[in-house]
Amino acid sequence: MSLLHIRALQLAIHGTPILKGISLDIAPGEILALTGESGSGKSMTAFATLGLLPQGSLAGGEIRLQGTELLRLTDAQMCQLRGNEIGMIFQEPMTALNPVQTIGDQVAETILIHGAATRDQAMKRARDVLRRVGLPEERFPVTRFPHELSGGQRQRVVIAMAIALQPKLLIADEPTTALDVTTQAQILDLLKSLVKADHMGLMMITHDLAVVSDMADRIVVMQHGNIVEQGPTQTLFRTMQHPYTRALFAASTHRVNLPSPKSRPEPIVQVCDAVRDYPLKKRLFQPRRYARAVNRVSLTIHQGERLGLVGESGCGKSTLTRAMLGLEPLQGGEIKAFGQRVGPGMPNGLRSGMQVVFQDPYGSFNPRWKVGRLIAEPFHLMADPPRGGALTDRIAESLENVGLQPTDADKYIHAFSGGQRQRIAIARALITNPDLIIFDEAVSALDVRVRAQILDLIADLSRRLDLAYLFISHDLTVVREITDRVLVMQAGEIVEEGPTEAVLNTPQHRYTQQLIAAAPRLPDLTTGDPDAAASDL
């Protein structure tokens, strides 16, 4: 008998159908991956199983856990099951923990709430569970608060809370999406070993096919609230009967047709021994101390060059970017753009030569401005901005450049999808005809198919407009496709640099090797080429 048995699960929220007849099974000890793009209903399937649907939800069909029909249980009965029989791990470890309670208390609470032990026993078991997830008490006392831990460590605490009572079913909703690749690899290993040891069923929700292929026994592919295809991992990847599955896979391994680099020697941005220190809090009678975010970094971006910058969170990528944009002062070295010195006091005209596109397509626009005004904003930087008809023409041209309509200038930003918003962000960056655009994790928040389109757009712009760009990303697959040269950054320093293919195929520095080893990879389906599998990041 299967552990979790879902049949014809339907869900509507305020009358809008979200799930349209989901049927799936999870056996004890089995890892089932639910994959699909955002809005496909993956997370809602999990929340329906957990009985934590948002207000205004109406669910129908069957969800049976070991034969018990969950949809008919009262909330009080579901409370008995949650945390006890079903554990759940969330996407955002930074916010999933209560900031004002110690980690020991939070783990012990799962045990206490189900009346499984007295307070002292619960604390003792919390210690054991935390040790099990890799937070031994010697190094991570139970009196720590969440803010004293890193993202990966917090995710371990969340896992400890979920498995404290050894539930039969574990649900993990994008458990590693917010984490760095090396941390992701550790957390995935931990989940696998826990599932094996406790013989739990794991429902793993992820948009990342590469993660899925490494982890799952079986895969369920969802689209628009339907299951389009499901089957054992290897079989599914080999057959891929549904066109949507094939489209997802193709987008994940998307090959960008990047024009061959036009190597021209003129440098447009030169960073020379740049040092950026942040002052730490001063203590009385002690000299002020500094945290070094960028340590003697030198790099050059040439005209028309496509440069990648990779590294994990906290390595100084963003600080370096802000310094290059002249938004932060340097404590050593210098940055020159187009021969002029870059810094907080630099002339606006110089700024218009460098534009930036950020990660979050939702947060980076003023919702009360129309698109035309949004993308014309960089004109403030110019001494003589176009006006009237010339301005309208420039806005229209910029929108057409990114594949949108000139009429879109009169709409508000909420009328656009995430991918379209990122196109608008690129249009905004293009409008001053800059020589350099910095893409700061510009495709990280997008679904794979949208990501593929935006990457194509970037390649196309590079071909037509002779644009140089700095592409910052933690995703090596994307960097491989979209850049000619790559820099690897660790702890404020550039540890490796070279042509992208060479660096990613034959990494010299230990850190680069670690990054590449930790990145989950898709199975190679081009049969008969054993080398391709290894190089297919």
Binding site: A76, C79, G83, G87, F90, P99, F145
Partner: protein, 315 residues
């Protein structure tokens, strides 16, 4: 935690010093000579000069500032220009009414606001929430002296449960004193409770949307348990700020209510002192109020740290 507290003590002391300089300066530049005011317009110049010498007004500003500050530190607030009585004693008498009144009102407002805010937040959008929010709108909009008059009409004149005003003194017993302060405290508390309810509700609603509340539910806590164990403490931080501000306001801002109920409180004292150019009383009362405000803020800061561990380690 100790380090955090020490830092706050230092900033408290600095604030007090700055405040004392500002208060002294402002009162100094205010027009009008207390000595000639006390003696009337027909006084002889030499009498005025003698009185000025007696009051210490002929000394340099620095000397007077230092004498004033040193006096306050040792508990000697000086002699009132008009009443020829010890300022410390005058303030002390009034404080025995204003302080209990402020605490009484604050307690009432908190007792009303916490459950009301909690209730409204847990029924968001439902009739219960709408009723509570409507009531708070009214509470914020209607001035407290109108509440005061209504309370007098209903509870003192019609029902005769309470006196319409005045204060019998604490020597008549705790109960008599509290009874006399009840109507003023309610009148003061209602608008404050309305504000606090709204803050409590919106703060809780913000917390309800947090990821860790969902985590708590996933552990098997019921909605109510999740709010009690994880929601309240996090929601308390903005609420504490408002409570701190309200206490300072209630201590000094009760002047209209004191007038309505004929209570000899601090508000009335400072009002009379200003009209009579009794500078030393004004200075001392204002300084005392500043001290109260800063000290309450200090307590609020400590309460923050007790609630939120992130503040403790940041210090």
């Amino acid at each position: 935690m100790l380090r955090y507290a020490l830092k706050k003590v230092v900033s408290l002391a600095i604030s007090l010093i700055i405040a004392s300089v500002v208060i002294f300066g402002v009162v100094e530049v205010a027009p009008g000579d207390p000595a000639s005011y006390m003696l009337g317009i027909n006084a002889q110049p030499d009498t005025v000069a003698a009185l000025r010498a007696e009051l210490g007004l002929d000394q340099s500003r620095w000397q007077r500032y230092l004498a004033w500050v040193c006096g306050m530190v040792t508990g000697d607030f000086g002699i009132s220009y008009t009443y020829r009585a010890s300022v410390g004693g005058m303030i002390g008498d009034r404080l025995w009414i204003s302080l209990p009144l402020a605490l009484y009102a604050l307690t009432l407002s908190t007792i009303i606001a916490f459950p009301a805010g909690l209730y409204a937040a847990s029924r968001r959008g439902k009739p219960g929430d709408v009723v509570v929010m409507g009531a708070t709108q009214l509470g914020v909009a209607v001035p407290n002296f109108w509440f005061a008059m209504m309370l007098v009409l209903i509870f003192a004149i019609t029902l005769r449960w309470f006196g319409a005003g005045g204060f019998p003194g604490w020597e008549k017993g705790l109960f008599a004193g509290m009874k006399a302060l009840t109507l003023p405290a309610v009148a003061l508390a209602l608008p404050q409770a309305a504000i606090l309810t709204r803050v409590m509700r919106s703060s809780l609603l913000d917390i309800l949307g947090e990821d860790f509340m969902r985590t708590a539910r996933a552990k098997g806590l019921s909605q109510r348990q999740a709010i009690w164990r994880h929601g309240l403490r996090n929601a308390l931080i903005p609420v504490l700020t408002i409570v701190g501000l309200q206490f300072s306001f209630l201590l000094a801002g009760g002047i209209i209510i004191e007038q309505v109920f004929f209570l000899p409180g601090l508000g009335r004292l400072v009002f009379q002192a200003i009209t009579q150019r009794d500078l030393i009383v004004v200075e001392s009362v204002v300084m005392l109020l500043v001290f109260a405000v800063i000290f309450v803020n200090f307590l609020v800061d400590l309460a923050y740290a007790a609630v939120d561990p992130r503040l403790r380690s940041r210090a």
